[in-house]
């Protein structure tokens, strides 16, 4: 994201709590707490974290599936809470569509695969005639790699492989006046050999259709492959955020460091650490003040239990929410390597 251009989408203090149990219960699950993030034009931002870290909740908040408990989402500077008319809400949904994880569950088996694309065109581009809609739909299918597009329009989901179905999902997302696609684990259900094709498609669409992506995943390696920036979530908070390569090369937050050390990497030399971290991420029910990672953190100090760490700028464009992490700003590059782990 260029510093001088306003972001396409921005969240400020975005918060979502869920009440657990029955009406009389007052236990509150903090799914997302106080999240500030920004997505620029034609930018791919990856949101990574373990299950339960709140990453999907953020996508659903941005898609307006959930109403935020607190905070605000701005699209092109305009707060979503101010979008009251149906036409305005419809326009926003067209600009910010979503792609789902399960390509087997997200297409209705009784309709042709072009159904969703044609419906979106009818809804979001009412000026098009029926013939023009078919033509645009065929073009969209080709742009996501389903060629020849006109052949695919009349197919039913059962005739398509998982990868092809997910491409239909991409075509559907592009059928409105799309600017930002919320892709929630779009490749995790696919076979390993076809995943990379979809990731390449994301990069192509960003370049050729000029769209941005919020790519939600638990797979850091795939995030590195496509994303410009990386946001690491832990227990509802942003733990670390910055340019992808910088975060991977100089992880500042102890959680990011743990996550990176756990990723299986066959190209890396064999190294089996002596200790294994058995702990798992907490469910954040009625958390108090303090860092949510402190119970698992090898560097925790007294302050971590008392004060929730805020994101601090520790390297250029690279922030982390940790009391212990040291800043590299103003430190000569030679010494940075020594302090970054």
């Amino acid at each position: 994201m260029n510093a001088d251009s306003a972001p396409l989408l921005e969240t400020a203090g975005l918060t979502k709590h869920f009440r657990l149990g029955g009406y009389l219960s007052n236990r509150i699950l903090h799914a997302v707490d106080d999240v500030d993030l920004a997505i620029g034009e034609q930018e791919i931002v990856a949101l990574v974290g373990e299950s339960g870290s709140g990453k999907s909740t953020i996508a659903r908040l941005i898609a307006r599936v959930y109403r935020p408990t607190g905070g605000e989402i701005y699209f092109r500077g305009r707060p979503l809470s101010a979008m009251r008319s149906r036409s305005e809400q419809l326009a926003y949904r067209g600009r910010v569509p979503m792609i789902f994880q399960d390509p087997y569950g997200s297409l209705s088996p009784v309709y042709r695969v072009s159904h969703g694309v044609l419906r979106a065109l009818k809804l979001h581009r009412p000026a098009l005639s029926k013939a023009a809609r078919d033509e645009v739909a065929a073009q969209l299918f080709e742009s996501v790699g389903l060629t020849p597009g006109s052949d695919f329009l009349d197919k039913y989901p059962y005739q398509l492989s998982g990868g092809q179905r997910q491409r239909v999902g991409f075509a559907q997302a592009l059928a409105s006046n799309t600017e930002l696609i919320l892709a929630d684990e779009p490749v995790s259900m696919l076979d390993v050999s076809v995943r990379i094709g979809l990731l390449n498609l994301m990069a192509t669409l960003r370049r050729e259709m000029r769209v941005s992506f919020l790519y939600i995943t638990h797979d850091i390696a795939s995030a590195r492959y496509v994303a410009d920036r990386l946001i690491v979530m832990y227990a509802g908070h942003i733990a670390e955020s910055g340019p992808t390569e910088d975060v991977l090369a100089h992880p500042k937050h102890p959680y990011t460091q743990l996550l990176l050390s756990a990723v299986p990497d066959p190209r890396a030399p064999i190294s089996l650490p002596a200790t294994s971290s058995v702990a798992e991420p907490p469910r954040v029910v009625d958390p108090g003040e303090g860092c949510r990672f402190r119970q698992r953190c090898p560097y925790a100090i007294e302050e971590c239990a008392l004060v929730t760490p805020r994101l601090r700028l520790l390297r250029p464009a690279h922030t982390a929410a940790c009391h212990v992490a040291t800043s590299d700003i103003g430190v000569p590059a030679k010494e940075q390597a020594a302090t970054s782990r």
Partner: protein, 321 residues
Amino acid sequence: MVVTAPVLAVDGLSVDYITDRGAVRAVDGVSLEVAKGEFLGIVGESGCGKSTLLFAIARLLSPPAEIAAGSVRFRGRDMVAMDEDELRHVRWRDYSVVMQSAMNALNPMMTIGAQLKDAIEAYEPASSQKIRERSEHVMRLVGIDPIHLASYPHQLSGGMRQRAMIAMALVFSPELVIMDEPTSALDVVAQRSLMLQIKELQRRIGFAAVFVTHDMSLVSHFSDRLAVMYAGQIVEVGATRSVFEDPKHPYTKGLMQSFPSISGPKERLVGIAGSPPDLLQPPAGCRFHPRCPSVMPRCRTEEPPFYEEPADLVRCHLYDR
């Protein structure tokens, strides 16, 4: 490579699913051996037959699946020929199985301790004190406080449930533990720690392991040998490091080109064009030929045998020299 008799020797094993449209051969002529204390990884994509193979080895297949041909010799005895009564004497005591989803494999209505007790009593009558001692022992082995013997599955985290499953598989100190993606429901950090623990237990107790997964990189640091499956067949088998460092089969090469890495230079990957075949009508000749970048005319008609490469067996005509 194997000096002593293998713990497990699978020879020409084929499994059919009987459907209305005919028999689907999900596993086709698979042969493999597992030595004492060895860790064999089996990788492949969904639908390649890896789980079916595993169920066939464990004699857990149920209709419409049936073993159509081949033998599974466990410690020299053919398990395919055994009836249920004979199986009872080896199953769980000599070999055990860890399933993919602990949530589905554990009984939600019973405590972990009660389920362990059931498992022990089913195969070996023992006093309650013996059962208690053994249960506590295996729980400690997998790193769970024995206090959780009184817990119900829902009270444990996903990682602890999988550990409890492994504890259950180890109650009789079996010689072979068969594992079907035991870590796939876990997050990376929990996954890594469970893999380390499995490896550590294996070193300590000395059981052989057959580990099925779709995630090649997961087993890269843990398995001694690796078998790659495609469309019901093993296409390559060899020492894990040699398969990773010098993959021979075009499918294995394609797989290696399919997952990005978090280290090293960033390079554009291509994956493999197309998708796995429908096993009702598998392609003639080599089953990978419609997706293969190095396809030759004979691949379309002639099924390749295994060619021997140093440290590797490859089912590909490219190695016919």
